[in-house]
């Protein structure tokens, strides 16, 4: 899965799950779109589904400080790519 493909999936999640349309890649999601800690937890569940993995508690706590922008989220997902399979990728 390419970076571009990851971005498409993340944007889909933001549109469908969080009703946030096309946020800027480096916009602060909390400040600009009211994306709060509850949303961040829900996003991690979506990322778990996407990657077909179960993230441990420490990984999630670490993620909470990093997923403030779309680019930050995509960076986070990319870190898991070498060792995991992205759900639905390569269809």
């Amino acid at each position: 899965m390419t970076r571009q493909e990851i971005e498409v999936r993340i944007y889909d999640i933001f549109r469908d799950q969080f009703e946030i349309e096309n946020p800027g890649p480096d916009e602060d999601l909390r400040e600009v779109h009211g994306f709060d800690s509850i949303d961040a937890i829900e996003l991690l569940i979506e990322i778990e589904k996407l990657l077909q993995v179960q993230l441990d508690q420490e990984t999630k706590k670490d993620a909470m400080t990093r997923i403030r922008t779309i680019n930050g989220i995509c960076d986070y997902v990319e870190e898991f790519l070498p060792s995991t399979r992205v759900a639905g990728a390569g269809k």
């Binding site: 969080f18 009703e19 709060d36 509850i38 949303d39 937890i41 829900e42 569940i45």
Partner: protein
């Protein structure tokens, strides 16, 4: 510091209408809100009771996702009635967020439909079941979900009271809100309660043999408070809210005053958690009158709790007779809506306010043959045009909790 407390706005979602106009129309025309029980994916098919007080009129919410994400159906109802209440009130947004406006609001369970989803996840015996419970499920299903979703949506920063005492939930909300304002802890309170459509509540009363079961093919003829042919209560959904304000500040801002709260009482039977108790109910009626500083003869109308259970109506009739004799007119407004549980107290208060304003008392529906054991009081059996100066709203709950609210037509 004792201050006068007035009601300056009211809003309700009920099985007989969601607007004042529709509710008054239903009360004057004898419209029942009881309908066939809907099928669910759990146990509706196994219940003996097949009727429910159902909200049929569409409700437009228009809430953003940032609010919806922590709301179960019960909070949708709660926030909707408060949204209308605040829009109608004309309260200054600065005051709403000043810390001097509080919220007293509750429900019976939080959101039972969300709780049901949580239980399903547990019972699936999936290794990942913990992950199946969304981050917001607790916020949707916790007991104070209605109160805090209201504070979030409307930026309310004052006190939060969340009574959750089944059928006295919202009468306590009003009573405790009244005391907050009366004694100066807050200058205004949003008070009420809500319960969503929920068949588990029907199951509870069904298993206690307390539900109506003989009118499943004629839902609009039950419940029948005080009638010889009553056979139990009918569970219902609903929501209601009233805005209580300190009189001087309400007058200063030119608020329209719907009525004045002049007394409130709450006690407990101190024993059985289910059976109605004559001593306890008589006690709370007496304490309510004492709180208002009035004599029994000054009360014109009583909105009885009147669930239409076999014993509940008899005990309540005897308590009213003991304190009041035949002086006030008595009606059981659940005959229109069914038992809206956490919201019954506030809905019956709002119905009473509307009737006081319009100068009529709606009869207890289906009261064709008064049970001789309930005959010692003055039942309203037909639409009665009469001015009501002082009314009492009585509510009693599982757990032995009893409340009495005294409201008065407003005079400056």
């Amino acid at each position: 510091m004792d201050r006068r407390v007035v009601i300056t706005a009211a809003s309700a979602i009920t099985p007989v209408g969601n607007s004042k106009e529709k509710i008054v129309d239903s009360l004057t025309k004898g419209v029942s809100g009881i309908r066939p029980l809907r099928d669910d994916d759990l146990f509706a098919d196994y219940l003996h009771c097949r009727v429910y007080g159902t909200i049929e009129d569409p409700v437009e919410y228009g809430f953003d996702r940032k609010f919806r994400k922590t709301m179960g159906p019960v909070s949708f109802y709660a926030c909707k009635v408060v949204k209308e209440l605040l829009a109608w009130s004309g309260l200054d947004p600065d005051f709403i967020s000043s810390g001097r406006l509080g919220v007293a609001f509750g429900s019976t369970h939080g959101s039972p439909s969300v709780q049901r989803r949580i239980y399903k996840a547990f019972f699936q015996q999936d290794a990942n079941l913990a992950g199946a419970i969304g981050a917001v499920d607790y916020l949707k299903s916790m007991v104070h979900t209605t109160a805090v979703n209201i504070t979030k949506m409307f930026h309310i920063t004052g006190r939060v009271i969340c009574s959750s005492t089944a059928c006295t939930t919202s009468s306590q909300s009003i009573g405790f809100g009244y005391e907050m304002v009366k004694y100066g802890m807050q200058d205004a309170m949003i008070c009420g309660g809500a319960d969503e459509y929920d068949t588990t509540t029907v199951a509870v009363f069904d298993n206690l043999l307390a539900c109506s079961t003989s009118y499943n093919d004629r839902p609009h003829l039950t419940p029948r408070p005080f009638d010889s042919d009553r056979d139990g209560l009918v569970v219902a959904e609903g929501a209601g809210a009233v805005l209580l304000e300190e009189y001087e500040s309400a007058k200063k801002r030119g608020a329209r005053i719907l009525g004045e709260i002049i007394g409130f009482s709450c006690n407990n039977n101190g024993g059985d958690l289910i059976l109605p108790n004559l001593e306890g109910i008589t006690g709370t009626i007496g304490l309510g009158l004492q709180s208002a500083g009035i004599s029994p003869g000054e009360v014109d109308f009583i909105s009885a709790h009147a669930t239409a259970t076999k014993m509940g109506d008899v005990i309540e009739s005897r308590a009213i007779e003991k304190i009041y004799g035949k002086s006030p007119l008595v009606a059981g407004l659940k005959s229109y809506t069914g038992h809206t549980m956490a919201s019954c107290g506030v809905i019956e208060t709002i119905f009473t306010l509307y009737m006081m304003e319009k100068g009529f008392i709606a009869p207890t529906l289906h009261l064709e043959n008064i049970d001789p054991r309930c005959a010692g009081i003055s039942h309203v059996t037909e639409l009665t045009e009469v001015p009501v100066k002082i009314a009492s709203i009585q509510n009693f709950a599982f757990g032995g909790v009893n409340t009495s609210l005294l409201i008065k037509a407003f005079k400056p």
